[in-house]
Subunit: 373 residues, 2 copies
């Protein structure tokens, strides 16, 4: 039984009269073949992947497994249509936080038609692609069982300003991502999701090394999917941080040249993520204008649900259950915190307080010297 | 006494009725200030350079020293005009081989006007910028005292195909760069000019590291000047391999984002140069079409001057005095060659023969076992 994927954040969505991807229960993802050369390109690319000796094994893992093509009843009711059969990347994940990040300041190949170039150039200019070297095509950030996901509109996500992208990349790994107006994400999971030897940054750096060298193909309009499970992170378990490359309808032969467009964008993303790891507590981000704020409003009508929160001295409002905010509004549940003397609340088994007003936000909060509880 | 620079390879050239840069004998280079915002931008950039704490010392050295601005009699006879006063990068060099490489697949900033964007985009498409991430804006390669320089036309240089750029980058460090039809450069100086701890690649990698991190400014339409002295290399002396960044009329603030456009192009150039060092003897380059060949013809009317040459088995014609070509047409004068048993001709003091038919091409050639002389 095929159905629309539960955790799609970008691209065409399946629905009544709408052609989109489908998934089955065995973990396969069915992507309708685009009728023109894009579909043929993508099939050719996936077909060549497993036999391409230029792609080392540690890089192969960044591509979804390909199971060929199959005629499948299309989601829009138009009958049997050829689909790419791929690995369902959300398989086994319960409530994944996901970002779809389209890499490259240019989403078009030099070989493309003038008309297509102008169309893409306009999109690249209107989105953050041109300025940042990438754009967030879509995202969902898990909030809680009760609140579900924070899922801004796709159009809004693509047009985020530099500061807003920084904010979203922080929110993605924060425990306090629930309030659309909250501009002080705690980056609680930065070290476990972005950091570490198997974290997102480490994977991006592996990819970067390869892109510095590979001249096999150029990937235009290709995305990096970034995923993890917040609930696992909250439990102190491995959060399953993972990147995958997707969307290969605009792959061209590299012909002896590296993909400098993809590489540049990738390095830009890497820099943003590195900065979060270097200064996870740096919350100087300010969303400049009210107009910009709108970009960050979820499109599903869900707003922050303040079941039990405490306002802190600096006016930051936390919106997680049983959550308390300290003087600087930083909320963290990192294991490696060390005990300090300025009054901190922490409640994780191995968690001890730090000296910068950090508060852990797990189920049981303990009083600290500064009386915040 | 100001005069036109002797070794300019790109940009506007000074001359009767032509506004261009000038040099004096004390080692200063006078660049006419462009009247519009470009001039103001460049002054502002150079003025900020020495005091910019974000530029570490080992990176500062890649920028020309700036001595302020000065009113100087313009080269076109139009009277006193403000000029940027810079370090003359060719000072102390007798017969420098020089490449001016404009970095970035995009020579325009996202902030530029639509008209300017379209104008630059067209140039980027017509040149190798879009495909390679850089274009050779101009170059001169020293041949010999008698033959002077090989200096292809600027327009031709900018439109080189990928294979031709590879060829030119090899020719740049070859001893047999004299014949425009010769497509088998020997890469004799690759290891001493591109390689080594102070060579071009090493300098480019330092620059790359910095561009992976710096978010201070974005350099559009900026060039890397690559220089060395072939005569010093021939004498086994330090060839003075050096890179410098030039042309800052289109510098923009980085505003927290790396210059992914410059970085991508820089990585592409690095890959090309690395390949030459990895396989200096790999001469599989073929110039595909007659039309392309024209691109590589010098614009100064100098053609190969075959004073004394020997044609080899594979039809390659060497055009250096007293030069002999071996079976595979590779001509080398590297010091580190080791003696082999297949008949090689070598004549440098510390030079011994290798086992792949390599022949040294210095003044005195000695007969080898295979009778080639």
């Amino acid at each position: 039984m095929l159905k629309a994927p539960q955790h799609q954040v970008a691209g065409h969505e399946a629905g009544i009269g709408k052609l989109g991807p489908l998934v089955d229960e065995s973990g396969r993802f069915y992507k309708p073949l685009q009728g023109d050369e894009r579909g043929a390109n993508e099939v050719a690319f996936y077909s060549s992947l497993s036999t391409n000796s230029g792609i080392p094994e540690h890089i192969q893992r960044f591509f979804p497994t390909f199971y060929g093509t199959q005629l499948v009843e299309a989601s829009d009711g138009s009958g049997l249509l050829p689909h790419l059969v791929l690995e369902d990347l959300a398989l086994g994940r319960v409530n994944p936080s996901i970002m779809d990040i389209k890499i490259g300041s240019r989403t078009w190949a030099p070989e493309a038609s003038e008309k297509y170039i102008q169309k893409c150039l306009k999109k690249d200019q209107e989105s953050s692609s041109l300025s940042l070297g990438f754009r967030i095509s879509g995202l969902q950030i898990y909030r809680s069982k009760e609140l579900g996901f924070w899922k801004p509109g796709k159009k809004a996500a693509q047009k985020l300003s530099t500061e807003e992208v920084k904010l979203v990349l922080r929110r993605f790994v924060s425990s306090n991502t629930l309030n659309d107006l909250d501009s002080r994400p705690d980056c609680a999971f930065a070290s476990t999701v972005y950091g570490g030897s198997t974290g997102i940054l480490s994977q991006l750096l592996e990819l970067k090394s390869w892109f510095e060298d590979q001249t096999i193909f150029h990937l235009y309009s290709c995305s990096i999917l970034v995923m993890f499970e917040k609930e696992l992170a909250l439990k102190g378990k491995n959060p399953g941080a993972q990147i995958k490359l997707i969307d290969f309808a605009h792959v061209y032969e590299g012909r002896g040249v590296i993909d400098h467009n993809f590489l540049g964008g990738l390095c830009s993303l890497i820099k943003f993520i590195s900065e979060i790891l270097t200064a996870p507590n740096e919350c100087r981000i300010e969303v400049s204008a009210k107009a910009d704020q709108k970009n960050l409003t979820a499109d599903n009508g869900v707003v922050a649900d303040h079941k039990s929160h405490t306002a802190s001295d600096n006016g930051v409002v936390a919106d997680q259950k049983n959550l308390t905010v300290s003087d600087n509004g930083v909320v963290v549940d990192q294991k490696y915190l060390t005990n300090s003397d300025n009054g901190v609340v922490a409640d994780q088994k191995n968690l001890t307080a730090s000296n910068n007003g950090i508060i852990a936000d797990l189920k049981k909060l303990t009083d600290s010297d500064n009386g915040v509880s």
